[in-house]
Symmetry: C2
Subunit: 145 residues, 2 copies
C-alpha cells in the first residue's frame, strides 16, 4: 500500500485518537463494580441481562457461554436470593429465571453505577462534552445505517 500525505495525516489522527481513548476507557469499570458488590463477573453479567425473565437457553445465548455454565451462574443467583428458577408451564423442560425483589433492586443499582459517567467525562467543559456527544452520535449513526 502506498501512502500519501493525506492518508498519513488521517491515519495518524485516528491512531492518536484511539490511543488517547484507550487510556481513558480501559480497563473497563464493570469488574470493579462487580467486586464492590461481591458478585462474580459471570453473576453480574447475568443480572445485567435479567431485566426480564429469561430461560436458561436464552441466558446462555445472551452471555455467550455454554448452556452448562448457566446452571452454575443461576445457582449462584439463587444462593444469594437474587433470582428464582421454575419450570415453564407450557413446556416443563424449560426453566424460567426471574429476579426476586432483592435481585431487581440490586440490578437497578448496578445499572445506575454502570451508567454513571467517569470523572473525565463529567469534568469536560460543557462545550467539549456536547461536542463529544454529537460526534459519538454521528459515529453510532454511521455504524448502524
Amino acid at each position: 500500500m502506498r501512502y500519501n500525505k493525506f492518508m498519513a495525516v488521517k491515519g495518524d489522527t485516528a491512531r492518536e485518537t484511539w490511543g488517547l481513548l484507550s487510556g481513558l476507557v480501559y480497563p473497563p469499570p464493570f469488574l470493579s463494580i462487580a467486586r464492590e458488590h461481591d458478585l462474580r463477573p459471570a453473576t453480574f453479567g447475568a443480572l445485567r441481562v435479567l431485566g426480564e425473565p429469561r430461560t436458561m437457553g436464552q441466558l446462555a445465548e445472551l452471555l455467550h457461554c455454554d448452556n452448562s455454565n448457566v446452571t452454575g451462574i443461576v445457582d449462584n443467583l439463587e444462593d444469594k436470593n437474587l433470582a428464582v428458577r421454575f419450570p415453564s408451564e407450557v413446556d416443563r423442560r424449560i426453566k424460567v429465571v426471574e429476579l426476586s425483589v432483592k435481585g431487581e433492586k440490586l440490578r437497578k443499582r448496578l445499572m445506575e453505577e454502570m451508567a454513571k459517567p467517569p470523572d473525565w467525562v463529567r469534568s469536560l467543559p460543557d462545550k467539549d462534552r456536547r461536542a463529544l456527544r454529537d460526534i459519538l452520535q454521528r459515529a453510532v449513526a454511521a455504524e448502524n445505517p
Copy 2:
C-alpha cells in the same frame, strides 16, 4: 442532593455521552486479538509488559496478580519459545525474563494491532476526528495536571 436545571442538563449530557461511548468501546478488542494469535489472555498481558526484561516480581506487579501465577505465565511463554528466564547475576534468587527474537516480533505485531483504531474512529469525517482527538487531549491533560 438537590438538583437544579443546570446540573440536570450537565448530568444528562454526560450520561448520554458515556452511554454512546460504552457501546463503541466495549467489549475491549484485546481479547479477540489474543485469541486470533492463540494466546491466553494472561500470556498476552505478559508479552505486553515485556518491552524490556523484567523480574518475576516486577511482572506480578505489572500484571496485578500474585507472584505464584507468574510462574505459570512465564512457563507458557517459554513453552512457546517467546521468552527465556534466567537467574540474575547479581542476586541468584531473582529470575530475569527476557523476550526471544520470536517473542519480540510477536509483541511488535500485537502492539501494532492494539494501536490500530477501530472502524468507527477511522470512518469519522476529518473534522470530527480532529475535534475528538482535541477533546480527548484536553481530558487527559485535565486528569494528569
